[in-house]
Symmetry: C2
Subunit: 299 residues, 2 copies
């Protein structure tokens, strides 16, 4: 009897420890983990982050579910893809120097401009700008981007309403005082008139995975980095023709905008770019860029 009265609490404690341990382990399994350089790995896991060249891997939102979902295939219809000679026009060194300097001068004039003219822009120019963005490199050549170009006024207005609604909540509630202060010098607020005024809104979606006609999913390695690189080319192409934009990332509004524009569930909004000529009275904050020695180290 004495033994029993001692054993009961001991058993109860042991039982609770076991339950608690199981709970903790199941929480840990949900967390993302990365491997550190040099550790020996067992069989491949869905949560590793290996090194690859060109073929980039990132924490896509559905990564944890990759191996659970039914059908994943390679983005590879021809394993014996032909390799062909590469050649490109080279330039003499003096020409390279001049070209590099001219291109830098052109790009250095690029600024984010919030005051956009309503004047129409030739459609074919926008097409070429999008095509240029599409020349970016991407993980395993998956080209995981969709550019939704909106010029229809009612749709632009609906986009503006969604964005301003979220932005007002941000400025009034969500953003820390520090962030609002950081933006103060840029004189931003939740009113986004350019969303109605600009002749084009380009909404850049990343495809977190591809879908084949038979429904099987295609892995899109490093889709966010790839689409961001593509946006860099897009900005260069806009600057090259004298158009301006605002590089904005309305992530909170992503789902609403995706539904408004009838994009599928594998696409997530990454950036929203209003595009047009600068307004006549456009102003920009008098910011300076860092000098070369601040951004480059040479070894």
């Amino acid at each position: 009897m004495a033994l029993l009265s001692v054993l009961t609490p001991v058993l109860a404690v042991v039982l609770c420890l076991v339950i608690g341990f199981m709970l903790v382990r199941s929480r840990d399994a949900e967390a993302t983990s990365t491997t550190s350089c040099g550790k020996t790995e067992g069989p491949p896991k869905a949560d590793f982050r290996p090194w690859v060249d060109q073929e980039l891997q990132d924490d896509t939102e559905d990564k944890g579910k990759e191996d659970e979902d039914a059908d994943w295939v390679d983005n590879n219809e021809e394993e014996d893809l032909q390799h062909v000679p590469f050649s490109a026009p080279g330039y003499p060194e003096e020409t390279m120097l001049k070209r590099s300097k001219d291109f830098y001068t052109l790009m250095n004039q690029r600024r984010t401009v919030r005051f956009i003219s309503p004047d129409p822009v030739p459609r074919e120019v926008i097409n070429n700008v999008i095509l240029t963005a599409g020349t970016a490199p991407s993980g395993a050549h998956t080209e995981p981007w969709t550019f939704v170009v909106v010029s229809e006024p009612e749709t632009k207005h609906q986009i503006r309403q969604i964005v301003e609604e979220e932005e007002e909540v941000n400025y009034r509630q969500r953003m820390g005082d520090k962030w609002v202060t950081d933006l103060a010098k840029l004189r931003t607020n939740w009113i986004k008139e350019y969303l109605d005024v600009a002749p084009y809104l380009i909404l850049v979606f990343k495809q977190i995975h591809g879908i084949r006609p038979d429904g099987k999913k295609i892995t899109h390695y490093y889709n966010e980095i790839s689409v961001s690189i593509s946006c860099g080319l897009l900005l260069a192409a806009l600057q090259n023709v004298g158009l301006v934009t605002v590089t904005s990332t309305p992530l909170n509004c992503g789902p609403k905008l995706r539904l408004l524009l009838k994009r599928p569930a594998n696409e997530k909004l990454l950036m929203l770019l209003p595009v047009g000529y600068p307004a006549g009275n456009a102003t920009v904050p008098d910011l300076k860029r860092k000098p070369l020695d601040d951004i480059m180290m040479h070894i």
Copy 2:
């Protein structure tokens, strides 16, 4: 006595439940969370993801610790930053059309090239290419990039050793069969000869936060997206002068490479770009890019 013998196990169970509950709560607090569009928010939290224009916010690696660390300040020394008129040379529509077409043609010739010539490249050209990358937009104008340019042969060789060591583990162990198959058509493996051969290696680091001279931390909103956009401009600048590269992301080797190059803890490796002229016998996989209708939707 009877009461005591009943109470003891009950107390033991209650105690264990409390301990288990506390363990579970402390694990949850470490996990990242995001808010969904439209929900009413209370006071600002470190884990929200609001909508901002230009001023991008991402899941920087130390985000969870942002509010715990001692001193965070605004990237804002002058709240009353002057705003100045913006003007840019405009082009007639025919010129815009030609410029957009020529730039697209130039960028469309860009390919990832793994066979790089050892021929030296003028240093000033590389400087202008880096300066061009530095003209990218960035969250709250934080310019969160560091470009480490390596031309010294011994350091390049050490970089190659680190990368190949990790890459061999990847190919042999970590990467799923699917990924290896996806890469098969690109004929990649863990041998990265170009890391020794290319005259320059450009290692692109993202600064996950800034540090003021007095040691206070500066928030770097959307640093990964900003630096990726910057890389897009860098690639355009390289293509513009006839240089080639491989867009690679050796994340597993990030810490080792950071230490080798003596970069501080707030910098994380994002990309490694070997740069040079294409080798005479360079080949590329015969890939095609998607047509405009596949990447653009017009509303």
